[in-house]
Amino acid sequence: MRAAVAGVVLVLAVTLQVSALPHIAIAGVTCDLALIVVVGFGLARGPEFGALTGFAGGLLLDLVPPADHTAGRWALALALAGYLAGLLRREGATPVGPGQVGLSVVLCTSLAHLAFAGTGALLRDPSADAGEVVTRLGVAIGYDVLAAMVVVPLVMWGIGRFGTAQDRRRLTGGASL
């Protein structure tokens, strides 16, 4: 049930990210909605759920047109980001506040973009040079943090509703996941 809800949310996020959001891109950089959703999943449900949903969401980004890069690159990047988000949640077991959301998104966006650029360098992709990676990462971090302030609480609330009673206790009880 929870996996199905996560799947629907990811499909929605990827659709918006490739068709509607590019119209409000900043310097060509689109808001990484799928990444933000995955961070929300990681924060809500821990590293395993974050890594698995990250892989699924990244795979969609790799396959859905107009993607034209080697498949698996966003899958790896988002899986790592989701896992990191889950670990961050474990450290501060208190309910997630705006500060933690912001910090998680900054770290996860950096990790995902650097992983994507890293696999590009491994595959000798000529189009990514270091300076460009850094500027676009900067823009993306700013944009993603803004969007995450709205999206992450929504995602965490949504996925919390579809958890079992035990999960809810673990989420609200402050015990580490």
Partner: protein, 313 residues
């Protein structure tokens, strides 16, 4: 990670504390599996050959997400129309100050400027270009746009193999060359834009007919430019010179005679391999909407017959 586990405050109950190492092991297994799966995919797809085992997956994804992207684009259409109207308004305000005489007429135009009307006008110009050059064109709309963070400049269009679109076909709009089709599924196609760093087009200078190659820089936004390297050592490009495609053998991937852009500056270095120049493309890749795919090339090369009249630019 182990250190953190040890340093964590003791959790309630014996079951949880003995459960932690197993949970940790499971978590690491999941991470390892996911990373392994990603690298497997990358390895399978790394050669980017047309027979990549990932391609069936791409086709499946396109057939599911094509209608979704199309629907989402239609849903945000009023918002984009609004943005276009604001842009139009700004332009008119600037003109207002200079030309008060034309003000009334332009205001009238503004009131009737609807998104649909703009698209109809775009389609009209597209058909005009197609008619001038003798191309057979399948019209299509842009329904998905690649993000700058993936470092490829690509868009999705809502025409596919069902409309006769195949890989390596030329894509143009009313202004000129847009790019080429790299992949087509039944209902959608992926277009590599001119400005992508991996895009190279053969261009011909309108004035001297000399040939060269245009390559993108991967830039985004309306200021994106192309690099033009001339093949002919003696050819001297000048700012303002206009370029058309010289066409590939068998008209794939580029048909001949499509307007590309204008030279805006000439390189300082007169290298051994001919001059270089910077070219501004006629097509603004950041504002693409209606495009056409050349499904039937002209019987003969139209040369520069489809270039816009000089005073218009």
């Amino acid at each position: 990670m182990v250190l953190r586990e040890l340093g964590a405050p003791p959790t309630k109950g014996v079951v949880r504390s003995t459960g932690v190492p197993r949970e940790l092991r499971r978590r690491r297994t999941v991470l390892a599996l996911v990373i392994l799966a990603s690298f497997t995919l990358i390895t399978l797809d790394a050669r980017r050959s047309p027979s990549s085992p990932i391609d069936p997956l791409r086709n499946a994804a396109a057939s599911v997400f094509g209608p979704l992207e199309s629907g989402a684009t239609s849903a945000v259409e009023p918002v984009n129309g609004l943005r276009d109207r604001f842009a139009e308004m700004d332009r008119l305000v600037a003109e207002n100050q200079r030309l008060t005489e034309e003000n009334a007429a332009l205001n009238g135009q503004l009131r009737s400027a609807e998104y649909a009307r703009q698209r109809a006008a775009e389609l009209d110009r597209l058909l005009k270009v197609a008619g001038l050059g003798g191309y057979t064109v399948a019209p299509a709309r842009v329904i998905g746009i690649g993000a700058a963070q993936t470092f490829t400049r690509t868009v999705t269009i809502d025409a596919g193999t069902a409309d006769g679109v195949r890989a390596d076909m030329t894509v143009l709009n009313g202004d000129g060359l847009v790019g080429r089709v790299v992949r087509a599924t039944e209902g959608t196609a992926t277009v590599l834009l001119l400005t992508d760093a991996g895009s190279t087009v053969g261009g011909r200078l309108e004035r001297t007919m000399s040939l060269g190659f245009l390559s993108g820089r991967g830039q985004v936004g309306s200021g994106a430019v192309l690099d033009f390297a001339l093949v002919d050592v003696r050819a001297q490009p000048k700012p303002g010179d206009r370029l058309v495609t010289w066409g590939s053998r068998g008209s794939a991937p580029y048909v001949a005679g499509v307007p590309i852009g204008e030279v805006i500056s000439v390189g300082a270095f007169q290298g051994t391999f001919g001059s270089t120049a910077v070219v501004r493309p006629y097509v603004d890749a950041s504002r693409l909407d209606t495009v056409g795919v050349v499904v039937g090339p002209p019987a003969r090369d139209p040369r520069d017959a489809v270039l816009p009249p000089r005073q218009g630019r």
